[in-house]
């Protein structure tokens, strides 16, 4: 055990986590140049394209240190987005130390701090690493000063590197060996292993990624997952090289994988404890939380006949994404579909993209919603995450909505406009601090619904990209809620209904109308778009009809060309949803939610 180090790299997005991981992998000779791909731990196309790590990954790096000893350095890569902060916390719980990576030009950002807190909660050794020192805009002294004053860490302990140029990599590896403590634990004790990820393997079922704290697990053992109380027979264990490497056992201190005939990843809960069925540990490892989706939206196939295919696609998708939940749902406007729960808007977009791409389906998502709580006059309590299930307004005694604590970091010069934005978003109980000269840390408690609306985009544009943001979910608070409906040519588009705070209803409705006007192409008839609360129209706009589109000349040589054009248009139209004889493109449904502050 004394030659094992378990560590993670944590950083604000784009500070170079994936690049540094690549460099460490290369340096320790895990891959030769020929097989090397950038961002090696980001396996999915979507991860490479978006430049965000979505799934956790682990890899064991063999390292021959200066002290002459051979070490195994287990690098656990963590997701890089607030939507996945619980997964991050479980990955960190599997480590003894972290590299806290900070961009030399950007300095400390909100996720630097949020991740630092997570590392501290887990009592990890923290090694600050200043990355991108090769940049002409790098300001290493300023970052050192921030590490001291804003993070309260020992600035002298900070390492400097350029992940891109491969500078300072050996120093980092040495620091991992020297400064991160080796794992502790008893290989002979009752098994206690923490699940930090689960992935689906089409040939073998679910592969559980875990960190063993105590005990040993080997093929043939019967393991028990303590939260869902299911027992499984272990088929294979091993550790992560670039591919999985089978071993005869994994023991206390090690990071590895287990196959135990678990069918879907949703049977496995991240943060759950694995123990042995016949000799269980007395209590699960700390920090387990049952996964809770916070954003909800319905998915419909654009073509109703694709419903069965969509059902199959979601079932398969679920095998891979334990954070995703869904159930059957139906809409008057969009037909049969599924109500789905997500960790956040990014998670929602990822699911949408993967379902469309991997299963070749065209789908529509309804306006995302948070989960509201209503107390009715008869004393009963109901949770509503689907505007279609909004209770009769006369029966409502009290409505409540979830709140979050937002942490915002940005240069002082934007303070006025950021505060204005937060107030507009119904922020309250603000706490203002100076992290360093000219650098503000602002905490606000605000409704989650406001954050999923367009907060993030607007905050980024107000702070011209210098601001960073993170949040945690707090509690439910009382709120004046209304149901806002959208009507197209007098027909309610139930999938566009949203629950909103009374004060936001009119601007929301107006914005939805305008967005639809931008997204719905002009058609043969005039289209009226209205926003309404019950019978009261609170916003309206119209899309005028077009009057002339016919091509002037159509003779022998034009017929094929024109037909091809029409065929293309026809195909495009098929991807639209027809409601009240109006063709609504898929983009219109999501656009209703998107921000328009790019000006």
């Amino acid at each position: 055990m004394k030659n094992i180090r378990n560590f993670s790299i944590i950083a604000h997005i784009d500070h170079g986590k994936s690049t540094l991981a690549d460099r460490l992998i290369q340096y320790t000779g895990m891959v030769d140049e020929r097989n090397f791909k950038d961002q090696i731990l980001d396996n999915m196309d979507i991860e490479r394209e978006r430049g965000i790590t979505i799934k956790s990954q682990a890899i064991a790096l063999p390292y021959h240190a200066e002290d002459g000893e051979e070490y195994v350095l287990n690098l656990i890569d963590t997701p890089g987005h607030v939507d996945f902060s619980y997964e991050v916390s479980r990955s960190l719980a599997s480590c003894e130390g972290v590299l806290l990576l900070i961009d030399a030009a950007q300095g400390v950002q909100a996720q630097t701090i949020a991740n630092l807190y997570l590392a501290m909660e887990n009592n990890l050794e923290i090694i600050p690493v200043i990355n991108k020192i090769d940049l002409p805009t790098a300001d290493v002294d300023r970052v050192i000063e921030q590490i001291d004053s804003e993070l309260g860490l020992d600035a002298f302990s900070a390492l400097k590197c350029s992940a891109k140029e491969g500078i300072g990599i050996e120093e980092i590896l040495e620091a991992i060996v020297k400064r991160i403590p080796p794992p502790k634990g008893n290989p002979e004790g009752p098994l206690a292993a923490l699940i930090f990820d689960a992935q689906y393997d089409p040939f073998r079922g679910t592969v559980i990624h875990c960190r063993v704290f105590d005990g040993t697990v080997k093929p043939g053992d019967f393991i028990r997952l303590m939260f869902n109380q299911e027992a499984y027979k272990v088929e294979e264990v091993g550790r992560f090289l670039l591919a999985r490497e089978k071993r005869d056992r994994i023991s206390a201190g090690e990071v590895g994988y287990i196959f135990a005939g678990v069918k879907t990843v949703s049977d496995v809960h991240i943060g759950d404890t694995i123990t042995l069925d016949e000799r269980p540990c007395d209590k699960p490892l700390p920090g387990f939380k049952e996964f809770k989706p916070v954003v909800f939206s319905s998915i419909y196939p654009i073509a109703p006949e694709d419903y069965e295919d969509l059902a199959v696609a979601l079932e398969k998708y679920l095998l891979n994404d334990a954070a995703f939940v869904y159930q059957k749902d139906s809409s008057i406007a969009l037909g049969q579909g599924f109500r789905c729960g997500f960790l956040g808007l990014l998670h929602l977009e990822i699911v949408q993209e993967r379902v469309e791409r991997e299963y070749d389906l065209s789908i529509i998502l309804s306006v995302p919603s948070v989960r509201y709580r209503f107390t009715l006059k008869d004393g009963s309590v109901m949770f509503v995450d689907n505007p279609a299930h909004y209770p009769n307004p006369l029966s409502i005694e009290k409505g409540e909505e979830p709140y979050i604590r937002a942490m915002l970091l940005f240069p002082e010069r934007y303070l006025g406009s950021v505060m204005k934005l937060c107030m507009e978003k119904r922020g309250e109980n603000s706490k203002l601090g100076y992290l360093g000269p000219g650098r503000i840390e602002l905490m606000y408690e605000m409704p989650l619904a406001e954050v999923i609306y367009d907060f993030y985009d607007r905050f980024k544009s107000i702070t011209q990209g210098y601001g960073s943001f993170d949040y945690e979910v707090l509690d439910y608070r009382e709120s004046t809620l209304v149901l806002v409906d959208i009507l197209v040519n007098g027909e309610k588009v139930d999938a566009l209904s949203q629950i909103a705070h009374r004060d936001q209803a009119r601007p929301r409705a107006l914005r939805a109308c305008e967005r639809l006007k931008e997204e719905i192409p002009r058609q043969m008839f005039k289209i009226a778009i209205q926003g309404a609360i019950g019978g009261e129209i609170i916003a309206r706009t119209t899309i005028s009809s077009f009057r002339k589109d016919v091509t002037a000349k159509c003779y022998g040589g034009d017929i094929t060309r024109k037909r091809k054009l029409l065929e293309k248009q026809k195909k495009g139209k098929k991807r639209m949803k027809t409601i009240g004889s109006v063709s609504i493109p898929q983009s219109a449904f999501l656009a209703v939610l998107k921000s328009d502050t790019d000006n």
Binding site: R547, D549, V550, T551, A552, G556, I559, R563, L566, K570
Partner: protein, 376 residues
């Protein structure tokens, strides 16, 4: 398939004196190549000998057919008669440039059997002609329109262009007024289309000038329709008007009702049954193929029944006559109205189409959006 529909013959003369900046027809300015071309054309006709029979229309277009000499044109028609069964009262049209029309040329045309002439007058406004880069003047345009009548032509067509940047509706109506003063039997009024690959199209894309917006285009379109209908012309196709349906272009109507047609010459298209094919859009390639003993065909497509349906629908909706529901069912094995009653009713109420006497046909406002109508 189109057993009852009689084929037409199109001949593409690929020469122009100079290239108009808005034109995307295939033509070149090397007129000295005309003898080679005529040679090739005659071989091409032989290759199709008796395959499209009988034929009741011949359309000599281009390019600028009026650049050829009467002898050359006569030679073409002789070859046509030799290789195809041209019926006695066939419609034989020639396209002509105003600058080329003198009395003796026109009289020769009559003599060799051409009975319809279509004159590319384009405008009676000097500024508009200038913008379009035409090589004739207003004066030439006027005398070009007067001359065929004197030569005995009883079926004269005029081509005019509207929606030219800078041309107001007033200027356009003036051109129209001057046009009908000659009582032509036929008028083609085309909205200027800025094709991206033409010099004018490129200048437009580069932002050198702006084209009329959709509202204005619509106004041009409707005013044209109203004005000419008022003057006794039938608006029988999106861009075509005839003083009585007996003067409607028999040849061009074949394109809109899926009649078979054979196109000869570079870039010409042909259609038969469910096949469409087109010749090389290059004079050299065209000749090379023919001289090697091959048809100068660049590509052939076989249309599926859905493609035929879509074409029949969009082409039919370009015409005042519209689509015969019964014929459509017979030819394309599908009921045009089935499953679409609701939307057709709505379109009828909105005044875009009418369904009467077994025909589905567009109103003038419907004609203006015929392309979209065909997507329902």
């Amino acid at each position: 398939m189109n057993s009852k529909k009689i084929p037409g013959l199109y001949i593409h003369i690929p020469f122009c004196l100079s290239k108009c900046p808005y034109c995307d027809f295939y033509s070149s300015t090397s007129i000295s190549a005309a003898p080679d071309f005529l040679n090739g054309l005659s071989k091409e006709m032989e290759m199709y000998r008796h395959q499209f029979n009988p034929i009741d229309t011949v359309y000599i277009g281009g390019g600028t057919p009026s650049l050829l000499s009467p002898e050359q044109l006569e030679n073409i028609l002789t070859k046509v008669r030799k290789n195809f069964d041209l019926i006695a009262d066939a419609e034989i049209t020639i396209e002509a440039n105003p600058a080329d029309l003198n009395q003796s040329f026109l009289e020769s045309m009559r003599e060799i059997g051409i009975n319809r002439i279509n004159i590319g007058a384009q405008s009676f406004d000097e500024k508009v002609l200038g913008f379009l880069g035409r090589r004739h003047s207003v004066k030439e345009a006027i005398s070009a329109v007067e001359a065929p009548r004197k030569a005995g032509f009883e079926n004269i067509g005029l081509d005019l262009i509207y929606g030219v940047p800078g041309q107001g509706i007033g200027v356009w109506l003036n051109t129209l007024k001057q046009g009908i003063a000659f009582s032509p039997e036929h008028l083609s009024c085309y909205q200027l289309t800025l094709e991206p690959k033409t010099p004018l199209g490129r200048r437009w894309q580069a932002g050198e000038f702006s084209a009329p917006g959709e509202e204005l285009q619509y106004e041009f379109f409707m005013k044209t329709s109203e004005f000419l209908e008022e003057a006794g012309y039938i608006h029988y196709e999106v861009s075509n008007f005839a003083r009585g349906m007996e003067h409607a272009s028999k040849h061009n109507q074949k394109y809109w009702d899926h009649s078979p047609f054979l196109g000869l010459g570079p870039s010409a298209h042909s259609f038969h049954g469910n096949q469409r094919w087109w010749n090389h859009r290059s004079f050299d390639q065209y000749l090379a193929s023919i001289n090697a003993g091959n048809l100068p065909v660049q590509e052939t497509e076989t249309l599926t029944i859905e493609q035929l349906r879509l074409e029949a629908l969009y082409l039919g909706l370009r015409t005042k006559k519209g689509i015969s529901l019964q014929d459509f069912k017979k030819q394309y094995h599908s009921d045009l109205l089935s499953g679409k009653k609701k939307i057709f009713k709505k379109l009828e109420e909105a005044g875009f189409i009418a369904i009467r006497d077994g025909y589905l046909y567009p109103t003038p406002t419907g004609l203006a959006i015929a392309d979209t109508l065909s997507l329902i």
